[in-house]
Symmetry: C2
Subunit: 367 residues, 2 copies
């Protein structure tokens, strides 16, 4: 109950959103709208404190919230702004508890902002950590569920006023199934709140420090850009990532299927990779990078595409023919690559049973 | 608070299920399994009283329950037996009320038995009436919703232990959408309980006396069969129905689509209708009967197919090539053919905007 947090300022929101977009590994939706909404709440007087994992007592209740839907739709369909708050309140009511803090389901993409928005609306702090350390396409793919969070009661709310509670759900896969289909009914942009988690559980199961990590990444990227330094290099330094490919997109295929955006991008190498070819598989996020037919980065490690000139993180729905990109790999947090985690978020879980997960080394540890 | 009810006996269950199957107008699922389950509960000591609409005080709470799914699946997938009870209990909990009685969403088909099963399990009476006076394929197609029942909180439960609560739903069409998709996820056999209704509302909006009507129809049919009388004629006498066609099925087409069974049957006339052709459109239930191209019975009036020899009601999924059937029409209750009702259950609501509903006259009133 010791460690100190920090107050999130308006100036933090832009770097936070840029860092979150990068950690989205191409998916997770764009945090821009959420950033604008958070800024508006702050300008009206809302204050949000980011607190470390040891700030609250063991028996405090924590709420994990996030938007649910397909990012292809999310770009066009803007949430009304209280979906996650209403979902969180419904869970509080049916579970008979009061939440002490919010935590993000996924730091990557738009869901980095959702718990901050609810925190601002409800006057709660937000925990420095999340359930993925990146973005993933499905509800059960969080460290919380991997390490035993209860799948119910959870709740989902839309902008029209509909609130559906998953009161008893036999496992997290059923929660994903129900929540996904209701979200698609709702128009594929809804707020989901999972069952209350006790702080002692969250302390062990959350990916730690990821709000601060996103902030640091965003700040480094903005600073490099302001000082006209090589942005990609600065990002590699901050994240401990490795550059795996530079190239030009020669083909991009995407389709919206059952609430997910699936597809594939093909790249022709430039610079050090001239003469090489790369393929990136996508299900909302970047899943696997092959260079000349060899898989070099694979889920759950992070595959991030940056615009070569500006270092801007590119989401999968923004990929387009002719774009010049740098593809970097970041090692995912250890919690997400245990055997138990790989069952849920490893290559086989995404339809690549032939790939054996080979973790990336952190270039940061070698510095 | 005056009128007396009657205790349902084990001997009532077979005629009740036969009458309910007939009122299912080809759909609503087969009440046979529900009948066996009710019998089992009765043999273990459960007692169920059928009470008239004026038996309870105005402020008593009534629960409408029913199975939800596609009858094509329902035939094969058997409910575990406590789906509707769990859904009802979830609604009680979230609404903070205790139910005083059960009522059927639809007397036609399997849902005739569901509230009786819950009544037996919970020790409650069942009201003599229902929300359709027949069977319809969608949740919002009840007299309750037509006349203003609240769409939430409602709940759905499956045999595996999943319970989903529709806590706030903006209208009954959204309830149908959410409940149908969750039911399909659940494997297309789930129990739905809608929001608690006050008795003063139920008294005005329920189709009255339909449990007793189903019993009477079943008894008449069984008696005629035992006495080797013409079963079809006896059914017409009891129901006030009219014979519209006799013929042989020459073509039958069915498909399962979005949780519904849709299709069409073609008949070649026999007896008085020799030389004529008939077509019956189906969406779970029989929707329209055309004889020689002229629509002669249309939804919401009841189109019932009876096996010509035995008088057995035939559900749409039991129709088969070469079958000889008598098609009779029964006028639906007045509550289901007001302009307000026809908006929800008239021909246009089922995709026949070109048909203007022409109600059947009751042959009983002309007796």
């Amino acid at each position: 109950m010791s460690a100190k947090g920090y107050k999130l300022t308006e100036a933090d929101l832009l770097p936070l959103s840029i860092g979150a977009a990068l950690l989205g590994t191409g998916g997770g939706g764009n945090p821009y709208i959420g950033m604008l909404r958070t800024r508006e709440l702050m300008r009206r007087g809302a204050e949000v404190e980011v607190i470390p994992l040891d700030a609250l007592p063991d028996d405090a209740w924590v709420s994990e919230v996030g938007g649910i839907g397909a990012p292809v739709v999310g770009v066009e369909k803007i949430e009304q702004g209280e979906e996650c708050l209403r979902a969180m309140r419904a869970v509080e009511e049916v579970a008979g508890v009061r939440m002490s803090a919010m935590i993000s389901a996924e730091i990557g993409g738009a869901n980095s902002m959702e718990p901050i928005i609810v925190a601002a609306q409800a006057g709660l702090p937000v925990i420095d950590g999340d359930g993925m350390g990146r973005a993933f396409p499905e509800v059960q793919m969080t460290s919380f569920f991997i390490y035993g969070a209860k799948p119910s009661p959870a709740a989902i709310a839309d902008e029209k006023g509909n609130v559906v509670i998953f009161k008893d759900v036999i496992d997290m896969f059923w929660l994903e199934k129900f929540a996904r289909d209701v979200a698609v009914d709702m128009g594929a942009a809804a707020g989901l709140a999972i069952a209350p988690m006790r702080m002692d559980f969250v302390r062990k199961s959350a990916v730690p420090g990821t709000v601060t990590l996103a902030l640091d990444i965003g700040r480094a990227l903005l600073a490099a850009r302001a000082k006209r330094r090589n942005v990609v290099e600065e990002v590699l330094k901050t994240t401990g990532g490795t550059l795996f490919f530079t190239g030009k997109i020669t083909d991009i295929r995407r389709e919206l299927k059952g609430g997910f955006s699936r597809g594939e991008a093909k790249l022709s190498g430039t610079g050090d990779w001239a003469g090489s070819e790369a393929v990136i598989a996508i299900q909302n996020e970047n899943l696997v990078l092959w260079v000349d037919g060899v898989p070099v980065i694979m889920v759950p490690d992070l595959i991030v595409n940056l615009e070569l000139e500006t270092g801007e993180p590119i989401t999968t729905e923004m990929l387009r023919y002719g774009q010049r990109i740098a593809t970097i790999g970041l090692p995912v947090h250890d919690l997400m690559k245990t055997p138990r985690a790989l069952d849920i978020v490893g290559p086989a879980a995404f339809g690549y049973p032939e790939l054996t997960f080979t973790p990336l080394a952190s270039s940061r540890s070698a510095d």
